[in-house]
């Protein structure tokens, strides 16, 4: 076994997250899928940090976490305000911006 396996796991998790974004309709679940993709990226960052013997990857993962936290705060607030006006959390119901 080599650290490459972590990268493969990361790739699979990322793909699962991407597919989740495409198939789920609940906005919160979609959001969770995005978090999963971020986590997959974090895993590869940490792995690269170890392979390269440099802490920079971990620092990058740290920043990803901070940004993800900020994103979650704003994103959930947006979901909440949409829910308040439309009484739904489905991404398919917000489709007014079209042809």
């Amino acid at each position: 076994m080599t650290p490459t396996y972590y990268l493969l796991l990361s790739a699979l998790l990322f793909t699962i997250g991407a597919v989740g974004v495409l198939v789920r309709r609940n906005a919160i679940v979609v959001f969770m899928c995005i978090e999963l993709m971020l986590n997959a990226v974090n895993l590869s960052l940490v792995t690269f940090s170890r392979i390269n013997g440099s802490l920079d990857g971990q620092i990058m993962a740290f920043f990803v976490m901070v940004v993800a936290a900020a994103e979650v705060v704003v994103g959930l607030a947006i979901i909440m305000s949409i829910f308040r006006t439309r009484r739904t959390a489905s991404v398919d119901d917000s489709n007014l911006l079209k042809y």
Binding site: A18, V21, V23, R25, L97, K98, Y99
Partner: protein
Amino acid sequence: MTGTINLAGTLADGAQQATGVANLAWLLLVLPAAGAAVLLIGGRRTDKWGHLLGSATVIGAFVYGLVLFFDTTALGADDRTRDLHLFDWISVNSLSVDLGLRLDPLSLTFVLLITGVGSLIHIYSIGYMSDDRDRRRFFAYLNLFVSAMLLLVLGNSFVTLYFGWEGVGLASYLLIGWYQGKDFAATAAKKAFLMNRVGDVGLALAIFLMFKHMGSTSYDVVFAEIGNQSTGVVVAIGILLLLGACGKSGQFPLQAWLPDAMAGPTPVSALIHAATMVTAGVYLIARSSPLYSLAQAEDARFVVMIIGAITLLIGCVIGCAYDDFKKVLAYSTVSQIGYMILAVGLGPAGYALGILHLLTHGFFKAGLFLGAGSVMHGMNDEGDIRRLGGLAKKMPITFITWTLGYLALIGFPFLSGYFSKDAIISAAFSAGGGRGWVFGGIALFGAGLTAFYMTRLLILVFLGKPRWEKLKSEDGRAYHPHESGPTMTIPMIILSIGSVAAGAILSGMLPGWLEPSVGELAEVHGPLSHTAVSILTVGISAIGAAIAFAVFGRREQPVTRPQRVSWPVRAARADLYGNHLNEALFARPGVWLTRFLVFVDNRGVDGVVNGIAAGLGGSSGRLRRLQTGFVRSYALSMLGGSILVIAALLMVRFA
């Protein structure tokens, strides 16, 4: 601006550099041009003295022309051709056109004619146009015309000539359309302009050919080189120049605009459409005499003669049928110019004769037009000769001067026309063989017809019973014919003196005087002696006049034109179907072509453009359905795109 001396000094046909008083020859152009500029730019501020300024510039030019003339006569015959280089005008690669003046007997003759007759007509116009609010503008246009005409005859290259050529065309257009509020005037102006364009295209093509084959457009180079060109080029240039002459001089097949041009004020008809501008074609051919004199140009010269002969017949025949005072005179002009063209078509035997007839014609035809203008001025602008009659007693001066011009025109012995026209007829007979008999016969027959229609005009206007007494003019006024004022009668008197005397004086001197420009007048001997031709001509003219007396003088003429007439009269009244011919040959196909092009443009060009637009619009309308508004669809396409990018990167990396 001062005249600079052309130091090149390598003028091909022996033109000298102008010196002394001739250095100021640019004054001839600038004086009238400045007058026009002041009057046009000054606007209504110059209304009070505009006509005086306009006349003064032309008289000044005439005075200078006289000085120049005597300056030139003082020189030896070989030194009389002089060039005055003004400035480099167009200099593009190998095309180099200088604006220069050619002062030689031919151009000086024209200068005197233009400024002399021009001065008289300017003075005449002061009285004739006194009722017109825009008299100042009229004088501005007249000045513009004089300036352009002088440029035409003075230029020392074909491009300069072309510049003046278009300038007189513009002035002619403006003046024909002087009564622009009236439809017929506006239409006549347009017609004149368009038909002149046809001729101008010919002239332009001739200039292009010269440049292509001889590399220059100046008279010196062209006439020096023309002898080395192939027959095809020479004939082509000759015929194209003739086309230009036909347009400007109202020759067949472009004669139809000239009678319509009588829609302009009478002084314009006299100056532009009788004495000067319409003779520009004759000038052009006489100026190109080195070209037409060549043996290679034999065919071109023959075409010139044919055109001249046809035109003189057309003019005479139609002139017999018209009832409009000025239009009869206009067709008379057409036919007289036909004589001139016929003369210059004869080659060395005829150039000087053509110019001689041009000069005498300038005098008597201008006088005739001014007389017509005087009659119309006194008769509420009535131009229908059937409504006139018996005016001799009411307008004695007009009658006498007009009659002198009339006699000169029909070739009454020892008046102007006798010397010039008889000489042309005689020369035509001597063209050689059957050709000579045909052209001479036509010219002789034309002389008879001329006498007929001019006598008809004289009888219907001045003699007989006054048919106008019981009639009223179009605007409801009764006719009160009266003699015109001195500003109008004095020019008429001067011109009538010219009509009487010019022929006798000029016929002896002119050929020798013009020798440096158009070559020696060739002595030709035809089947008939000169005296015999003279007697014949006078006899036939007398017969024509007698027939006219017999037909029109002895019985009362109806006030309206008779409708039940024979077919030749109907054809003549329809301008011998010249307009119909133009209509059928050019206008209709032009309209069809235009319609076709419009169709192509609408369906083809626009179709492509609109089709592209419609295609884009339609495809966009369908493509926009991709914008479903579903975020997940967008995310799907983003993922697809990402995969494509990644796959491409990997292929580049690993393939």
